[in-house]
Symmetry: C2
DNA sequence: TCAAAATATATACGCGCGTAAAAATATAAT
DNA sequence: ATTATATTTTTACGCGCGTATATATTTTGA
């Protein structure tokens, strides 16, 4: 029944600058008036509400003397406009939505953090949302963003499972830049990494330093990057004159370490591995695989004493702490997030849609660690 | 200047039941009317707006025939009330805030997920917020929750750095149950784990199966549980007639793996370790320590062939994939989250503050894996 | 000093929805 | 059928703030 639609809302508010907050906190105690709304604040500050409203929209839009009076009052009474009421009847806000596929994945958490900073620096207010790997929640996040009337949205889609149609509908209403994972022809632009280059890089490295790698991946990956990596692997192996060897394991959901561990264990136990080198489609799978190898007594790493080489992809925050540390390809987070933000702000500023959908791909960088 | 206060908002909306959504999606295409608000929907459904409003507040509060008419209309036009406008002038909402210290930590992500489910089951709408380890953002989260007029809040505080005074202020206005980390006398109740019991458990286990453990921890831990664990360690060692040995390392922030790795490396290199057994204050430190041991060629685990035993605390989702897998104490997530939710709902239902602040502590369970 | 330009005020309405009270209607009970 | 009860409708106002317009007050420039 319809009643059981119970939305879950994740909200977190972050204060960029804090010095002023502390000041306010220190002084506001003396006058414990109950400033409930803008009207109250207008009254005690002796300034009309429309002017106060203007100030909060853009502090430089009021006369300097007025601004100083307002800020003096702000130090006495720590009033702040109601964020939700604010957006209710605004034409254009300074809100920028940031939607990522999975909050609990440190990989995405780091990306979000990065993008967030760019948004703050540009004078916008980031609104970060996680879709928890659930395409319906992804749509829900976008619908919810709509209510905040965002100036634009930076969206890293879940991927293959995403409801492309409804996302496209959203993009018609709100300027949206896709990043991390592409959906063909959706959004004004896409910024991501060049899986072709990055996989080529690590496959070449592995081939040069030992046996050609097998490719360990999920049979039906959620992320479209995974599919690109698969074909990039095959292409590179072909180019180097090696026979591609795909290990496509079963598994659904986002518990990649578990899948890497379970299927890695199986592969090792079955002795179906035709090579001593395994390239995993992403670091989280590799982390599980490493654990499986350890438990089977297989020493992973370079050199004669090792039975196996394992490499990953993404430079997951955790890959520095695996045993051995994980050789991988790092994404240029900085460039991707900077460019995504820039692209969106350019769209917002020109107030027009992109004439053509621009796709920007950044190169990965080889990170040589202990595992391969 | 005050202008630079740029709040960051994290929002995610989750649809509990989805069958109805799909149905709506399938049928709403036929009539592409632009239902913008409740007035529009009232008009097309032929029912007055106050009744519609009543329905969305509680579907059972309207006559069955009316309800059916509304739901028939809902299938044709997929209208949903504006969440933010809804809360604007409500006396009491069904919103329940859930605030956790750090979103990107899989440990807290799992706890949040658990609590969330209980809130949904009770017919409330969870609003999950992460404080990113930042006490100001924690306060900001609470302030922001206030705007949503929540029926209650489940708060896992950052800990030692939390602004206890302002949190207490919040608790005066909104029924709040603390969990995971306690702040003395703040909130209506606290539900957590019994660090005394859990540390006693693992210290006893370690002593019985090998050398008494040293305690590896941060000198100035963020989390108050860490302090309890420290004294529990000392107490248990005393009781067992062993000399406590604290290894208190420097380090700030939330990058525990890095601290565990860096300081673990130092301790191992310095040979200041007086024992072959190390109990880490939490799993994330242990994960870093394990990595350090591996890099120093120290074999970790039980048995004669191993040079070191390492144990953790919490049963972090990742501790199943370390090399070796991590022996630890698991928190009773299920019990803690269930009890926290129950306690809050009892408070909400009776509509009165707790007569006395109740503290409930659950036992930990020993998880014997490979590392000790 | 005085007019022109810039800014602030007063006033009013809008956003999308909650909620209260009285009037109208439908249902249940007799 | 009639009365009593339960629901719905009408009407109106409130929440906290954006925004528009006319008016009043500065500030600026000459």
């Amino acid at each position: 029944m319809l009643l059981s639609i119970l939305p879950l809302v994740e909200i977190a508010i972050f204060e960029g600058s804090s010095a002023s907050l502390k000041m306010k906190r220190a002084t506001c105690r003396m006058s414990d008036s109950k400033i409930k709304n803008m009207d109250d604040f207008a009254t005690i500050s002796g300034i009309s509400r429309p002017t106060i409203s203007k100030y909060f929209n853009d502090a430089d839009s009021v006369r300097k003397s007025t601004r100083e009076r307002i800020e003096k009052a702000l130090e006495l009474y720590d009033y702040r406009p109601n964020f939700y009421a604010m957006n209710q009847n605004r034409r254009l806000t300074k809100n920028v939505g940031i939607v990522i596929p999975y909050m609990a994945d440190p990989h995405f958490a780091e990306i979000a953090r990065n993008v967030e900073n760019h948004v703050i620096e540009a004078g916008y207010r980031p609104v970060v949302l996680g879709s928890q790997g659930n395409p319906e929640q992804e749509i829900e996040n976008l619908n919810n963003l709509r209510l905040l009337k965002p100036a634009g949205v930076l969206l890293a889609p879940i991927g293959r499972m995403s409801d492309a149609g409804r996302i496209a509908d959203f993009c018609k209403d709100v300027p949206t830049v896709l990043f991390d994972a592409n959906i063909e022809d959706v959004g004004e632009a896409f910024i991501g990494m060049d899986n072709n280059q990055s996989i080529g890089l690590i496959v070449e490295y592995l081939c040069r330093t030992g046996e050609p790698p097998a490719f360990f991946e999920m049979l039906t990956p959620t992320n479209p990057n995974a599919l690109k990596r698969r074909s990039a692997y095959i292409k590179t192996m072909d180019r180097l004159g090696h026979q591609p060897h795909l290990i496509q394991v079963k598994g659904e959901g986002w518990d990649f370490e578990e899948i890497g561990f379970r299927e890695g264990s199986r592969v090792i136990a079955d002795r179906t591995l035709l090579t001593d080198t395994v390239l995993c489609s992403n670091d989280r799978l590799a982390i599980g695989f490493l654990s499986a190898a350890y438990q089977h007594g297989l020493r992973v790493g370079l050199g004669a004493s090792c039975a196996l080489r394992v490499a990953g992809h993404d430079d997951h925050p955790f890959s520095r702490y695996t045993c051995p540390t994980l050789t991988t390809v790092s994404q240029d987070y900085a460039a991707i997030s900077a460019r995504s933000a820039e692209t969106l702000f350019a769209l917002i500023d020109t107030d027009q849609r992109a004439s053509s959908r621009e796709v920007t791909l950044y190169d990965g960088r080889l990170v040589m660690r202990g595992s391969a």
